[in-house]
């Protein structure tokens, strides 16, 4: 059923009949991302009560986006940019209906080898860009777990980070310039000269990175590229305590060594990921990797030697490189559906938070205490490290069936999130490292940012999008 014939006809005149749908099956397809709650709701009759877009639009050009936003502004219709639909926070869920704007037909890639950048339209799937670059000997250096399914626009809009971020940085470190269609329909470039740095006032890339579609639509990106490493050496260490593992990471970073992968696991998750059955509850397991090239082979070896020496001195046991190699090879496996978990109605999710070294361990225990119960198991790992601290993945696993009449699981799930986020804020953490805000975390944004900056967030929103058409209800806006 078409919600508004007039709007439908105008949209159709912009994109053509082949690029618009109001069919229920398509609307359902665009109401879901990789948000655990959403996936659960899509298994149940509750799917019929979920907010869905009224129109699905596939855009083929910048001009079409611009015209659609002008129309949406005039008619006050919400617009939700849609890339891979792989976010884990419900960022693309059309809370008040409107237009789901699929960007995947924008898939042009243009390599500028001499300047070490690539121009890439927002709809390109991450793996497709990486395949393209790898063939030419380059990499973006951005390997999030959703690489095969999320889009470049999605990476930027959610402020994503990948497995190699400790060396190559997160998406914000890779963006040189963005082409953004503002809610008014105006097309702007955030750094039109594509220069690596400039002192011309604030960096406007940052205004749109992580804006989750609330400030405009990212249509094209100029991304830094680097030579694809020839070498990736792994190392693994078993530490007597979590504290020792975290301190070792800080010391490594202080030496100026930047492993591409730094992942520290507490005992419960280490047992599951690395199959170390006899790991003791206080112990922690560290995986490191070191990237380089044939020409820098010795440099790679030296970094590994120095880190090994440092870890052994801290009381760790050298576990060799096999664990890291296997983890890297199989790193996406845990994101596939697990038949045993489905049979048992297991629901698992991750609360990704971030804090400084001096608070990482404390934050874990406080959040664990808040979240863990008879029905909820908790485990964690730490990754994406910086000189000052790093992120923590608090993973919770719950066993609860849900029914339409008795939505136990969804209530418990929401409760866990609320408790976890509250504990995070109360204990000095920040509520998201790289998954973004989406729906649940929105209500904590004022606390997270502080009143002055939250007002600024809203003020910018009001300036750019006075009618509030862009992805309403996200980012706490």
């Amino acid at each position: 059923m078409v919600k508004n014939e007039e709007i439908y006809r105008e949209l159709e005149s912009i994109v053509g009949l082949q690029n618009i749908s109001t069919r229920d099956a398509d609307r359902i397809a665009y109401g879901r991302d990789a948000f655990s709650l959403k996936i659960m709701q899509y298994r149940l009759p509750s799917i019929l009560k979920q907010p869905l877009p009224d129109y699905i639009i596939w855009v083929e050009s910048l001009e079409q986006i611009s015209r659609i936003l002008k129309l949406a502004n005039e008619k006050k219709v919400p617009v939700i940019p849609y890339g891979g639909g792989a976010g884990v926070n419900g960022g693309i869920v059309p809370l008040t209906g409107g237009i789901s704007l699929d960007l995947k037909k924008l898939k042009r890639i243009e390599l500028h080898e001499e300047a070490n950048y690539v121009l890439c339209q927002a709809g390109v799937i991450g793996q497709h860009l990486e395949n393209f670059l790898n063939k030419k000997g380059y990499t973006l250096g951005h390997l999030p777990s959703s690489l095969t399914t999320s889009s470049i626009g999605g990476f930027i809009a959610t402020r994503s980070a990948g497995a190699l971020s400790s060396l190559y940085g997160s998406i914000e470190n890779m963006v040189l310039d963005l082409e953004v269609v503002l809610p008014s329909g105006q097309v702007v470039h955030t750094n039109p000269s594509r220069v690596p740095r400039k002192a011309t006032g604030p960096n406007f890339n940052e205004l749109f990175i992580g804006s989750e579609g609330t400030y405009g639509i990212i249509a094209d990106a100029c991304l830094k590229i680097r030579r694809n490493p020839d070498i990736r050496e792994f190392a693994g260490f078993l530490f007597p305590t979590l504290t020792a593992g975290l301190q070792a990471i800080r010391k490594i970073m202080n030496l100026g060594i930047r492993p591409s992968i730094i992942r520290l696991y507490e005992a419960v998750e280490a047992r599951m990921v690395y199959h170390i059955e006899d790991i003791e509850k206080d112990q922690s397991y560290l995986t490191l990797s070191f990237d380089g090239y044939e020409e820098t082979k010795e440099f790679v070896e030296d970094q590994k030697k120095i880190c090994t020496r440092l870890c052994l001195k801290a009381g760790a046991k050298d576990m060799g490189d096999e664990g890291g190699k296997i983890w890297f090879k199989n790193r996406l496996n845990m994101y596939y559906p697990n038949p045993d978990w489905i049979k048992m109605s297991v629901l698992a999710d991750t609360i990704d938070v971030v804090t400084t070294y001096d608070n990482l361990e404390n934050l874990f225990y406080k959040m664990k205490e808040a979240v863990q119960s008879k029905k909820v198991n908790v485990m964690a790992h730490w990754s994406h490290f910086y000189l000052e601290g790093g992120s923590m993945y608090l993973i919770f696993v719950m066993l609860e069936k849900d029914t339409e009449k008795d939505p136990k699981a969804s209530n418990l799930y929401k409760e866990i999130w609320a408790k976890g986020l509250k504990a995070c804020i109360e204990n000095g953490g920040s509520i998201s490292h790289h998954h973004g805000i989406g729906i649940f975390r929105g209500e904590y944004m004022e606390q997270e940012l502080g009143p002055g900056i939250y007002d600024l967030l809203k003020g910018i929103k009001n300036y750019l999008d006075p009618n509030g058409i862009m992805n309403p209800g996200k980012l706490g806006l």
Partner: protein, 374 residues
């Protein structure tokens, strides 16, 4: 909606897994890539089936389009850790939809044609072997059957003729069945199982009556169906070979003329992923002097579909073309002069698509027949 659950617990679990996946195979699904639509992804297809199965949401046209637009190429399964086997799920779903009496007239061209004409192409059955009649002599009696297939008989006649010539050059005695019917593959892939059974039964009966012991076919869909599906319907006791395997068995005894060109081989879904015949065609091509055999970005178990499978060419021609164009782009990227396949439908589809002009599209049987030195 029927009150009765139609699928087994095991099938329901696979539906649940795929429809709740974090979309891990999206970057490989040919229809998802070509259409850019979420609705044409494996997990949304299974979501539609799952919701109907659970009696939450009955099939509507959008859901049916999503299900019937699957190429059944099963490329997603290559990248699926729990191996939900999307192709199998789509075939089960389609068969249950057809059986349930839902209006499937939009997708029934193939099934109806097989029932009426014994081929999916709405061609007159009596003319089936007209294209090769001049090559057949009455005296040819053998327990080896060359099964030409519908595409070979009506559309890719050169493949059928080359197959006959080639087997003769290799001194293999064979016969051709005057009353050959469709192997049933197009009906199986699109869910029209009654029509499939009817045509399979006809063929089996004919083969048994004529004492056939070995079946050779140049069509990868026929090969897969006769080899893997027929035994499920009958006490099957025939040796089945794709013609490539037959030629490959003679590799030490044959010589080829030179071909100083860049050649790439497209793995047909039925011959590659479904029956794992990857090396025989490559070994044969490698034996051609001066040939430069190149691999496309996606090959072997990761081979991209040509775009015509699963009834999509007949039912969704625009989507079918869009997928095919992606494959042709892969050929152009490696600057190949020849695109070689081992399936008449793949070749027929590729020929129909725009390319840069210089690309020669042939079946491997045609190429080998041209270059074979006796």
């Amino acid at each position: 909606m029927s009150e009765k659950k139609r699928f087994s617990r095991e099938v329901r679990l696979r539906l649940e897994m795929c429809s709740g996946c974090l979309k891990m195979c999206r970057d490989n699904c040919p229809t998802a890539t070509a259409s850019s639509s979420e609705s044409l992804t494996p997990y949304i297809r299974t979501l539609n089936v799952n919701l109907n199965e659970k009696q939450i949401r009955a099939y509507d046209e959008g859901a049916l389009d999503s299900i019937f637009s699957c190429l059944t190429c099963n490329l997603c399964n290559t990248f699926c850790l729990p191996k939900v086997d999307e192709e199998d799920l789509m075939k089960l779903a389609r068969a249950s939809i057809v059986e349930s009496g839902i209006d499937v007239s939009k997708y029934s061209k193939i099934g109806e044609s097989i029932a009426l004409y014994h081929n999916p192409l709405q061609e007159t059955h009596q003319k089936r072997i007209d294209s090769v009649k001049d090559l057949i002599t009455e005296s040819e009696e053998s327990d080896v059957l060359l099964f030409l297939g519908c595409m070979g008989s009506y559309r890719e006649i050169e493949i059928a003729r080359a197959s006959i010539e080639l087997l003769r050059k290799l001194n293999i005695k064979f016969t051709i069945m005057q009353d050959e019917w469709c192997c049933g593959s197009p009906a199986i892939q699109t869910g029209f199982l009654k029509q499939a059974e009817e045509t399979m039964n006809h063929n089996i009966t004919e083969w048994k009556e004529r004492g056939i012991k070995q079946i050779i076919t140049p069509c990868s869909a026929c090969y897969r169906t006769i080899k893997t599906t027929y035994p499920k319907y009958t006490d099957f006791d025939f040796q089945v070979q794709h013609i490539i395997e037959v030629i490959k068995s003679k590799i030490d005894d044959i010589q080829f003329a030179e071909l100083s060109s860049k050649v790439t081989y497209h793995d047909p879904c039925h011959l590659g992923r479904a029956t794992k015949v990857y090396e025989a065609p490559r070994e044969l091509l490698q034996k051609i002097p001066a040939i430069e055999l190149l691999e496309m970005e996606h090959s072997r178990e990761e081979s991209f579909c040509c775009g015509s499978g699963g009834g999509v060419r007949a039912n969704f021609p625009d989507l079918s073309r869009a997928v095919g164009i992606l494959r042709i782009e892969e050929v152009h990227k490696i600057n190949a002069d020849y695109l070689i396949s081992a399936c008449p439908l793949c070749k027929y589809h590729f020929k129909d698509l725009p390319n840069k002009g210089h690309l020669k599209i042939l079946d491997i049987v045609e190429l080998i027949n041209q270059l074979l030195i006796i």
